[in-house]
Symmetry: D2
Subunit: 453 residues, 4 copies
């Protein structure tokens, strides 16, 4: 096992802080992942991209051949379902902590769109597998979880709704109604990632099952809807800055009187909120670490470009101009501190579960995507027009990272929640402050000194 690539791919300083928290298995897995990623996955990206047809009538029907080949290799190497922690999911999980997986997620973030799928760690499947592993009935697990863990099928999570301000999840309008032993679903969703994939076999649909419930947090349920159920109508793919992200896509879907058996209800009637809250915490950390990997990749590309001897202008290499060196230093510092922030949040999840790490997760959620956007933006600038084109990964990376500032709640929601959490410290601080002032006054009086304070 070569320690060197690990350090290079995480940063020695952060590695020093966490190395002793890594099990031998985790270290070995990380080393294998880095090697596999570098030698197999990253070079395969261009081919994978080329294997997606440009014809709109065909690009949603493809299963990318090179990705399937690499999935076989990855599985043989034990690089599979790394996101599912045995601690939390003893039956199906892999013996990795959130902290350990976080580092691997950064590695995956350097391998573009295909890297996560190749090791069966791509959203929204990861969150859905977590939901099914934690809350699914034995039948649900057998029918949906096992093939998902097996990488045979894919899935979607249908929450966001069109015409609804759904960053407040209590606004959700999709109706979930029990009729005998059936559940009937009607609703209009969009931005349902992964639903375009020909292998997508199930949607976890969140809707209102009990709109009259006194608690706004008990009005929702989550139901498993087979992708081919009658009434599931995929309207169109949504675009992100011109990209459709085929074949997975982000779909607009109408559920028109879709009928599923009562056994497809997950966890229980009115348990929708509980399900999504458990689902989102670790997923946010995964996204953040992948974003850091993406930012690191962008910085590496930028360094390559600004030192390229064929790119001289006005007699100088690009890095010798203006603010380029400062931009690189700034990017390095931002990546470094962001990584530490997310690693510390991952460790808090390991210690206190997602619920006990909400502040750290919230901070990461609003800091990292913006940071990564900024780093990628600087790299784009170094590449000139090529930076915004299809010849470099940067513009598409930017589009994805920009969207992360909106997904799972826009930045503003997380900023407000973190701020409000800080404000909860006010009573304690005020009391401590008053105590200091009291002592201060006594000391001054003892010394016979008058002040204006």
């Amino acid at each position: 096992m070569a320690p060197h690539p690990i350090i290079e791919l995480t940063s020695e300083a952060s590695w020093s802080l966490i190395e002793d928290k890594f099990s031998p298995f985790a270290k070995e897995t990380l080393a294998k992942l880095i090697e596999f990623q570098q030698n197999e996955v990253i070079p395969a990206q261009a081919l994978a991209h080329a294997q997606i047809p440009t014809d709109p009538s065909k690009r949603w029907k493809v299963v990318i051949p090179v990705v399937e080949e690499l999935k076989v290799k990855a599985r043989k190497l034990g690089l599979w379902n790394l996101f599912l922690s045995k601690t939390h999911y003893p039956e199906h999980g892999v013996p990795l902590t959130n902290l350990e997986y976080a580092v691997m997620a950064e590695v995956l973030g350097r391998g573009g769109h295909i890297a996560s799928e190749i090791v069966n760690c791509s959203a929204p499947d990861t969150g859905n597998m977590e939901v099914l592993a934690r809350y699914g009935s034995p039948e649900q697990q057998k029918k949906w979880l096992l093939p998902l863990l097996d990488g045979k099928i894919r899935s979607a999570f249908a929450m966001t709704e069109r015409f609804v301000a759904s960053s407040d999840a209590t606004n959700i309008k999709t109706s979930i109604v029990r009729e005998g032993n059936d559940i009937v679903i009607n609703g209009h969703k969009w931005w349902i990632s992964g639903a375009g994939d020909p292998r997508c076999k199930l949607h976890l649909v969140m809707g209102k099952s009990d709109p009259g419930n006194a608690s706004p947090y008990n009005q929702q349920s989550v139901v498993i809807v087979p992708a081919d159920a009658p009434g599931v109508k995929i309207i169109r793919p949504m675009q992100v800055f011109g990209y459709d992200d085929a074949p997975e896509g982000h779909c607009e879907i109408i559920y028109d009187n879709v009928r599923v058996p009562i056994g497809n209800l997950v966890l229980g009637w009115g348990k929708g909120f509980e399900i999504i809250q458990g689902r989102l915490g670790p997923g946010r950390i995964h996204h953040c670490m992948r974003s850091i990997g993406a930012a690191q990749m962008a910085l590496d590309l930028m360094i390559t470009r600004v030192t390229d001897p064929t790119r001289k202008t006005f007699g100088k290499l690009l890095y010798q101009h203006g603010t380029v060196v400062a931009d690189i230093a700034q990017s390095r510092a931002e990546i470094e501190s962001s990584r530490l922030l997310v690693l510390s949040a991952a460790l808090q999840i390991d210690k206190y579960k997602a619920k006990g790490a909400m502040k750290e997760i919230g901070i990461a959620k609003f800091v990292i995507p913006l940071m990564a956007c900024n780093v990628v933006d600087r790299a784009i600038q170094a590449f000139g027009a090529e930076g915004v084109s299809q010849d470099q990964p940067l513009a598409q990376l930017y589009a994805g990272l920009r969207t992360l500032r909106l997904a799972d709640g826009p930045d503003a929601v997380h900023i407000q929640q973190v701020g409000q959490r800080e404000l909860k410290r006010a009573p304690g601080l005020t009391k401590k402050h008053a105590e200091v002032k009291r002592k201060e006054k006594a000391l001054l009086e003892n010394a016979g000194i008058k002040t204006h304070l």
Copy 2:
């Protein structure tokens, strides 16, 4: 003539500063343009977009019907070739100053991609018409300028090269060689905007005609190449983020032994630099004012969204949350000051031509596109995921504005040039400073005071 829409569309404060510099003709034209834009152009955008086929094999062959219809209407209203100032182009120009047209360019910037074309004011045709009007021979003007002014054909300007750091134009490699009465062109260009359009009939190609010339600014020439000349090979459209901007596009083109008659040389052998310098100044101002119009449109959309009563979250309208009001105030202030900056640059061009307004143009060039990106980015955030999608103009707007930070030289080039220009004030300042210090010392000595200075 209704004064009110003019004010609304420019901001009363900036209008107060410039109103007395507008001729009655300019005021009347502006009022007509605003009305036409609002009632005809803006509502036609969706239709124009729908009239471009999604099939890659067809989308480069279309002439958008509704745009053609509106061009007829625009011309009847006298809204045609507004960019071409009679002062500088007495024969073909319109009696508008750069300042007057700048305000109109802002109006056009609110009408999306089609607005400028409808009044025959779209880049790169505008710059090309300026070149031909100023430097073209009578034959060139007859053959190319008149149909361009007539809106019958379109054109491209081929400068940027692949594999070359062409933000330093002296790096250009395309060869322009005289052979008898012919000129032979070989080169590899990309990002040639407009070359995809089926009506594009000519390319103005910049290349090295005299690579051994002692002055790096006399090595280049510009040649008119008919778009259908043998050897002109359009390789592919470049994408900006995920947009291909069909049917105009930004093309990669190889000029493979393209042969044109010597009469196609513009201005003279070795005059390439002179041509592009005259071409770029006013064009940058046009881009900046359109960007301000775009930013204003984004802010208007944002205001509409955050006050939309159907978009409540957590019991409040969007604007009642977090930093939304502050974001709006900030955007308002930035738009306001940016507009004044560009208007003052336009006035300097009117007074001293582009060459005498280089500092003001340079400042506008690096301030405005970034400002507009920031304003649009805030608007995207207010729209949530819809903001990055095809259902709002914001993401595509962002992509275009982001590219402006790279086009005609990346921000860094203009920042350095403005900074260097400021540094030229150093000798004068140093002298003045020394004079003050001398007097200061005399005053102190007279008063018998010793200091450490």
Copy 3:
């Protein structure tokens, strides 16, 4: 009259925009002011500073000799009371518009603390003279306004209160009670600028005269309190980043049963709000323009420093390192756009009075002091430790500009007000937007096209 210094001291681009709005008198006055400032005032700053004793028991009793000498010269040159516009104050005013004076205020801003006083244009006297000229009774004008206009006495405006969140002026607690023909004042104020000056003869005191009034805007009155009235107790000078700004200072004052005749009431009972609103608008513009002058001076110093051949590090002049040139370009651009912003606000005041220019004034108020802080901060960085010391004006300048972000309402108040003003455009925009959507739909239907919008 030399046009050149005017341009240099305003920027040619902004001068072009406003030159034709300047009267011959204004141009001549401006030219004289620039010359006087450069040759007399700026060189006298060090002496003026040296003439203030460092001994705390003496520094509040001094009238700075060189300032008094220069006041005589200024008056002879007609450089006196330039802030008081004849348009608004026909009897006592000078024939200058707000726009014209704004440019002069920028010039004054380059001359440090003493410049404004030398031409009798220093706050808070300026605002107080405006109040007395507009609202004072003939007796008040005779007793207080004339000596102020004459530069014989100085004054204070006592509004801000200790222990009170007085950025909301309705929170003010000072009581103003009528007893027979007397008014009795009790209150605890602080940050009362100018009250430390030995020549300060009157305080305009704002307090609650009618706390039970249904309208929170009719509860306040303003009363003239002679500085030597029994019960006026100056507690201490407040410091600003360690500076006490002696001899003027910013004082904490207790009004302890201060009794004045009823004739000292200004304008009328309950007219306090009306008075302060009229008072603040132009004053904010003056502060902003002086801030721009200060920023310009800081940039000039920075340019001198970074080109100083005795300041080489690592073999290069300072400007050849890192981001210095970019910082200079950025500062240049920020000063340029800020100046235009304030000039356009000044013109709006001329056209519509302060009340009709609230948006423009508000934008200037939150943009300019922050901008000036940033420019000065960059200059400090160029000077190294000397930049924060008493050997350069930068740190004290920063302290003053930083305080402007809090004075007359903190930035946040102005940002919110400008944002709320923008939101008032929502109904109109929403209506216009709906109209566009209606037309858009009709065009699409006519063309037989279905979309998802």
Copy 4:
């Protein structure tokens, strides 16, 4: 030992990352320090401040009584010389790692100016003790180090020079000449912190001893100069903004033919650079952690203020306005990530000494002081004018933090060095990149696919 205060004073998330790296002794010491600081030091600040006379002729002669009392208490508690790591200084050191001390330095940073001195951990004594402990001769250690470790005397480090761009230390001009068994020193220094203190007994003076040496890094030596040696002339205290930081101060000093015995040379002739390089690394980390403590204190004050029920404006608590909650969240996130950054740098020093942690130290050096300035600036804004005054610690804190952006090399120097270090990764990245491109091409060719890359 109570674990809770530790967490509160560091942040639980970062504590989780480092707890297992803390020895029982370190944990116990930290807990004691926190309690001592909270109960004794923080309440004593106002008294300490009041015990410094305002009279300029007296304020440089005082030894603050309450500080001396607390030093006795601190020493009894074992809170003494915590900065001196036993690992590096086995003889005199305390069994604490750099990581462990870093956390304590943050705690000290919350206690204002006096906290570090009370535990004998204040700059420049700390760095000087490190120098003497590592490089001092037995005689030097006996005469100077032991009383310093004992807190009996204080010291200064004289490097920065007036009229010299001394951020490039090779520019230093002070001459150090051997004459027989003496060394003669002539030079003009300023910003010599601590030299104003009546207990300051020695200056470590850096100067040029061998200006003709081929290597610019072997031209300097460091010599111990007794503070009372003939020819040591303290000219004046420099001010930081308006603060003189008496009684320690930052002095301008002329060394006028100062003569010391050859035994006062430290380490060896020409070893000046080696000495300062070893001296600066850990010191920078201490400054950074104290800055984080200061930022944390400012945030705590801000939270207390914006939730204060007596501070309502317009009917709302301050935090319910505008961007206050967002500012608090942003500050929290910045403090959090900054702390992690510095802790990771401290750990790198423990692992690889300062020389092996230059990148991490450099990043911390340019990130943290600016971050702390920003956090304090936001707190100032929350306090209104009181924030810039002597009634809150914020303005003086800001002045100190602002100066840190200049001390030990301005930000720009560290930014450039970190950027250049990143650029050293270019050859490796370029090679790796080429390898990926080679494989990518092979995969595409195998699949028979042509691309434009």
